[in-house]
């Protein structure tokens, strides 16, 4: 289990995360909702110390990793995590196939002769054929990049996967396939997932718990059912996707 306690993150003067408290249950899917620029990406980056928290604790398997200095110890923690980057972050000097197998060299003992099999298998999981393996990332569409990036995460079989908007830029059918994939990983391998998403349909389908991030804090945490029924006006407006409500008023006041 992962527990975030009073997490704070400033970028200079800008206080992005003020006091985030969140539990991430093992083997469950936790979705994080929140407006654009509310600090969702920053939050999950802090979780594996791609960003250093300004204050607060991050407890992973009983240990606080928020102040861990040693790169070796941090690498040992990170190896259990997979991270799907919002923009894919594919290595542009390598082919799709090399991207997918990149982590295997460092994180597993899989022999190189098995790589073609893994490339084929993981690309198939995200709805791509192995013909794509020879292409360069610059030859892919936005949605394809996202899926290749996901295949790269899946290749190393992480116990916890942090998804930064896995369905953004995908067509509705592909989005649903990815949603199913996240559920599949939970059911078959017991993978813990943290999913940042703006896709309400997907969130309600996959989430065991939803956290709503607003103004640097978790405004509401609960099951999808609780989110549907809530009378919190902020959450209600967000879930409904309406431009009328308290959030709009706040924006205009700023």
């Amino acid at each position: 289990m992962i527990e975030i306690i009073n997490l704070q993150k400033d970028f200079g003067e800008k206080k992005v995360l003020k006091k985030v408290n969140l539990k991430i249950e093992e083997g469950k899917v936790t979705c994080i909702l929140g407006g654009s620029g509310s600090g969702k990406s920053t939050l999950i980056k802090c979780l594996i110390r791609l960003e250093d928290p300004t204050d607060g604790k991050i407890i992973v398997n009983g240990k606080d990793i928020s102040r861990l200095k040693s790169e070796i110890k941090m690498a040992a923690i990170r190896r259990h995590f997979g991270y799907l980057f919002q923009e894919g972050a594919l290595f542009d000097s390598m082919t799709v196939g090399e991207n997918v197998t990149f982590g295997l060299k460092y994180l597993t003992n899989v022999p190189e002769s098995d790589y073609p099999k893994i490339i084929k298998e993981k690309l198939a999981l995200v709805g791509l054929t192995e013909d794509v393996a020879k292409l360069n990332p610059s030859e892919l569409s936005g949605g394809m990049k996202k899926r290749v990036s996901l295949a790269r995460v899946l290749a190393v079989n992480p116990k916890v996967i942090l998804y930064d908007e896995p369905t953004t830029g995908l067509d509705p059918i592909m989005s649903d396939i990815i949603s199913d994939l996240i559920l599949d990983l939970k059911a078959k391998l017991g993978v813990t997932s943290v999913v940042i998403t703006h896709d309400m349909h997907s969130a309600f389908k996959i989430a065991d718990y939803i956290a709503f991030l607003y103004e640097g804090q978790i405004l509401l945490y609960g099951t999808p059912e609780e989110f549907r029924k809530t009378d919190n006006p902020y959450v209600k407006q967000f879930v409904a996707g309406s431009s009328h409500g308290p959030i709009q008023m706040k924006l205009m006041k700023d």
């Binding site: 990170r78 919002q86 923009e87 972050a89 290595f91 982590g103 060299k105 460092y106």
Partner: protein, 214 residues
């Protein structure tokens, strides 16, 4: 597994050495050739006006090249050519989260990007310096023989007289030091790049400008 990782990075280091060497060779050779020519012309004319004869042109050209100019010229060319390319590449990786991706896939930018490139610089720069000296001396030879009328054999013997292994080592050690510096600055500027394409441009010029004064 450690062995596997080392072998993998070894491949990277070789690749980088070849890239850096090939990228910079042509410009280094050309620049050195012309510098050797200018050196010979200046030294020849000055000595001629004092002694009435362009003596020791070969010595002066070789001496300045091997001790000072060769390593300096080479490091300027390498930093402008290969160094800028390194900063731009690592910088682009930084702003597109590829560096973060390295961390999440079990390696890190020091191990995967910086060390192979440092090896590349430290390995190729002395070799390039050697070529730079060679082309410089050759440029000097052409001017000395065809413009100043120094007999070829005299130029050649001038090169070896007064030149000791100490002078050679002096230049050689210098080129190692320069390689280390160019590598460090260019990699550091790349990794610390922020702010999109504009940031990449800034850090690339920044890297070249920082290495120049040395």
């Amino acid at each position: 597994m450690l062995l596997l990782a080392v072998r993998f990075e070894f491949k990277q280091a070789v690749e980088q050495s070849v890239t850096i060497g090939v990228e910079s060779f042509g410009v280094t050779a050309l620049t050195s050739f012309f510098t050797g020519m200018v050196l010979a012309l200046q030294a020849g004319n000055t000595i001629d006006s004092i002694f009435g004869d362009p003596i020791f042109v070969g010595t002066i050209v070789t001496f300045s090249l091997i001790r000072e100019l060769g390593p300096v010229l080479t490091s300027v060319v390498v930093s402008g050519r290969a160094g800028a390319a390194v900063t731009a590449q690592i910088g682009t990786m930084a702003v597109t989260e590829q560096i973060d991706a390295l961390y999440t896939l079990g390696t890190n930018p020091i191990r995967y990007l910086v060390i192979p490139r440092m090896v590349g610089f430290v390995f190729t720069m002395p070799i390039l310096t050697l070529f730079s000296n060679l082309f410089g001396v050759l440029g000097g030879y052409f001017v000395a023989v065809y413009a100043l009328g120094v007999p070829g054999e005299i130029y050649m013997t001038d090169i070896t007289s007064f030149m000791g292994a100490k002078d050679f080592m002096h230049g050689f050690i210098k080129s190692f030091a320069f390689a280390f510096m160019v590598g460090t600055v260019c990699c550091y500027k790349g990794i610390s790049t922020r702010g999109g394409a504009e940031g990449v441009g800034k850090s690339t010029t920044g890297a070249v400008v920082t290495t120049m004064p040395f």
